[in-house]
């Protein structure tokens, strides 16, 4: 989909344009530019501390980069508050699970519908009229997400009591419940066993294929990344050192150097 070789380039859904971010004197990101195309799975890889999560936080509004622009469907995201970006259709999951631990799975997913709800205190409070109809519509959407992620049997469980792998799945579900146009996943498979990883990879592919949701994915498991992504951006020390299809990136000398060390790259 990247289309470098004379193939007409599709319209980018998100343009990351010379983004620079510093914390005091530490430069976390410098001059990052690449495009994310609609309906693709865009991976961001790189060694620890390369700035992957910082970049994701810039997109979702938790960090404010000092330089550059991030344009999502034509609109600059930089300067918007995180909740405003969420309302534009950008959902995310976190590297360290951030769920509403005291609520049930269904309640967590229903909170994902928050951006689409408009019911007032009265009708929602009395569960009556428009408030009731609205609740039913959202509940149906949530049930579809539950089916997609195969979490039917835990829907009434309190999230804090679930296993790590299931919590990760619920967090993905909550992001999906927002019906996002862009889904940001920060290490969705970290700490999982190989079976759980396979499931998660399958869910991500399902989401991409069935809903055509654009996905930006940070992941350390190279096998998974190379299997499922359409495009890969490689960061090292806050800079973009390579961008392209998985095969292009795998063959790139700087990437090999970053992952295996410079002596190997010399060959």
């Amino acid at each position: 989909m990247a289309g470098n070789n004379g193939v007409p380039t599709p319209e980018a859904q998100m343009q990351i344009d010379s983004v620079g971010l510093s914390f005091g004197g530490v430069r976390a990101l410098s001059g990052i530019s690449f495009n994310v195309y609609p309906g693709t799975i865009q991976a961001i890889i790189g060694p620890n501390g390369a700035g992957k999560t910082s970049l994701l936080n810039c997109i979702s509004g938790l960090y404010k980069p000092q330089q550059g622009q991030i344009r999502f469907e034509g609109r600059n995201l930089i300067g918007l508050a995180p909740h405003e970006i969420a309302r534009l259709g950008v959902a995310r999951s976190f590297q360290n699970i951030e769920l509403f631990r005291h609520m049930t799975v269904v309640e967590n997913l229903m909170l994902g519908r928050h951006v689409h709800m408009r019911g007032g205190v009265i009708s929602g409070g009395l569960y009556w009229g428009a408030g009731k109809r609205e609740e039913i519509v959202h509940r149906e959407f949530v049930e579809q997400v539950i089916d997609l992620l195969e979490i039917q049997d835990i829907r009434k469980k309190t999230v804090g009591s679930l296993s790590y792998g299931l919590q990760k799945r619920v967090e993905l579900g909550r992001a999906l419940a927002m019906d996002p146009r862009l889904l940001l996943l920060d290490e969705p498979m970290a700490g999982m066993n190989s079976e759980e990883k396979e499931d998660m990879a399958r869910f991500i592919l399902d989401i991409s294929e069935e809903q055509r949701t654009t996905i930006v994915l940070i992941e350390h498991d190279m096998g998974v990344v190379m299997d499922i992504s359409d495009n890969v951006a490689v960061l090292e020390f806050g800079q973009l050192i390579a961008y392209g299809s998985p095969d292009e990136v795998k063959a790139h000398p700087d990437v090999i150097a970053a992952y295996l060390g410079h002596q190997h790259a010399a060959h």
């Binding site: 995180p82 909740h83 969420a86 005291h102 609520m103 909170l111 009395l126």
Partner: protein, 293 residues
Amino acid sequence: MEKFIQLTLSGVANGAIFSLVALGFVLIYKSSDVINFAQGELLMIGAYLTYMTVQQFGLFWPIGVVVAVILAAVVGALIESLVLRPLIGEPAISVIMVTIGLSSLLRGIVGAIWGVTPLPAPQFLPRDPVKILGASVGLDKLLAIGLALLLFGLLTLFFRRSNEGIAMRAVADDQQAALSMGISIKRIWAVAWAIAAVTAAVGGILLMSIFGGVSGTIGRVGLLVFPVVILGGLDSIPGAIIGGLIIGLLQAFAGGYLPPELGLGEVVPYVVLILILLVRPYGLFGQTRIERV
């Protein structure tokens, strides 16, 4: 037996008022981690605003009370946006000091507007004695219990059903996640302060009507919030309600059964405070926090 019933009912009535005030405190603490030392002053403002609308402006009392409660909500939201919002990201101790300063400031403002001498206030709740199981209790106390229960019910519905209420629970649970769900945390904090001001104001209005007067000392009830929330658990809304009732009852029984010259009714809540801190510092319903130091 008569005395027991009488003490129980007046204990529950006072306790219900404590619960209302404590509820606002817990709400602010849960949603923003701010310990609000000005909760008693919010109660005082509610009482004085009602004095203003009913006594000074001469509004029919139900209308006057509603107007005063709405004004109290505005005051609460204004305090959040003018005083607390600029403090986001500051250390907890600074925020606590600011709420202590805020309590002095509010007392000063009220003193400047209405003076520092006690003012006679309308006792709009009917006070006719009611016989219950042989004991005689003022109707105003029963109404206070009823009104507090009604407010608890409404707030429960608000938290369970309304978008704002559910968003508030989400913010209390995980702020980062709430942000990424499209919830504006600043807005939720403003709503939390407005509700805290409303529950405290209702408490103040009930106390004013029961006392038949209002003065700056009415805000001292705010101090009782601490035994209540420490007993119930700082972050538990049911804890605030049950804690308030227990403290109210203990106060009534200690004052009624123990020799009055000892004045133990005043002291008992703080004895409970110390005991709970020694035995179960997170309170009856609070979340146990394990911190590694």
